[in-house]
């Protein structure tokens, strides 16, 4: 139980902090993504290192950051933002499960990160997250003005942010993670 709370707390901090530090790069139009969406990396790294039980921590981290940045809950645009963040939390888990099911996952090998597989996971998570958002967000309404730009910018930002976050986090914390036998 103590480990569960500890891991979720780390996931919560990773996601909320990584979201808040990229606020200056946010676009006023929701059709255009923040081009370096670091929280995607945090949302991927948390289940990768600590298991799927970190899902609540990731979701709460996203929700808190969204609440701080958007400043509301009940307006239509806010509801879609929260739904989008729920998708962003779920997509990495679905991708990891998919890769494991198809015997395509070898993310860590005796203390070394297998960047090829991790990068593939980032790409897959980004594609699935964007696809799910296409089905959830109202594409013909006033909220998403340009669906093509939406698809392209959300995919690119998730991939870029995911790779940057994971690379930096693994470089900085590799000794600690090896010591804790997490990789």
């Amino acid at each position: 139980m103590k480990q569960f709370i500890w891991f979720n707390l780390i996931a919560f901090t990773m996601v909320s902090v990584s979201r808040l530090i990229i606020v200056p790069f946010d676009h006023i139009n929701i059709s255009i993504a923040n081009y370096i969406w670091l929280p995607m990396g945090a949302a991927i790294l948390a289940p990768l290192l600590f298991g799927f039980k970190t899902f609540p921590g990731v979701v709460l981290g996203y929700f808190l950051a969204t609440f701080i940045t958007k400043g509301g809950i009940w307006e239509v645009i806010h509801i879609y933002s929260y739904m989008g963040k729920f998708i962003d939390s779920l997509a990495p888990i679905v991708s990891i499960m998919l890769m494991r099911f198809f015997h395509l996952s070898d993310f860590f090998d005796s203390g070394k990160a297998n960047y090829a597989h991790i990068m593939f996971l980032v790409v897959l998570s980004s594609l699935l997250a964007t696809l799910a958002k296409v089905f959830v967000y109202p594409m013909h309404g006033k909220i998403i003005e340009d669906p093509v730009l939406f698809v392209q910018s959300y995919t690119a930002s998730d991939i870029l942010g995911g790779i940057v976050f994971i690379y930096i986090a693994l470089k900085l914390f590799a000794p600690k993670l090896i010591k804790e036998k997490l990789i």
Binding site: L104, A116, F120, L131, F135, V148, V151
Partner: protein, 159 residues
Amino acid sequence: MVESMGHIDFSNGNLLFLPMGAAILSYLLFGYGVLPGVAIANTLIGYTLWNNWFGNGFEGFSGHVIIGSLAPIIAIQMMKSFGLSQFFKDKSINYRHVIFVVLLTALLNTFGKFSLFYGILQEDIDIVNFMSTYLIGDILGSFVFIYAAVKLSALLEKR
């Protein structure tokens, strides 16, 4: 073969798009060198059966032939580059990896075609319909074609 199941324009995909499976299997078996063959076959279908890509001309050609022929190559090459490809094992097909390449191809093909077609085609595109029909069509068609082709070749080999 599946023409009667198709739609009369590009706004909805054919729900059993067997040619995608044929393209994937061709690249897996014979390498990327068969790209001209796949592209010519796609061009013939689009120009003759689909009446110049339902009247969309070059835009229709770009989406159907260029993206449709290149999506499987990009997916296979992505899996190879990331060290994730073992499509054949001990002279038999590794279905897990092949299914995965089908899923990835369908995703890339759908996103690619949507990015190109949206706003330039003559007909209106409903994004949810477009994405779901193209995805399902590519995935289902590829599964059916590859499974049938492998089973048929095994049967012929036995005889």
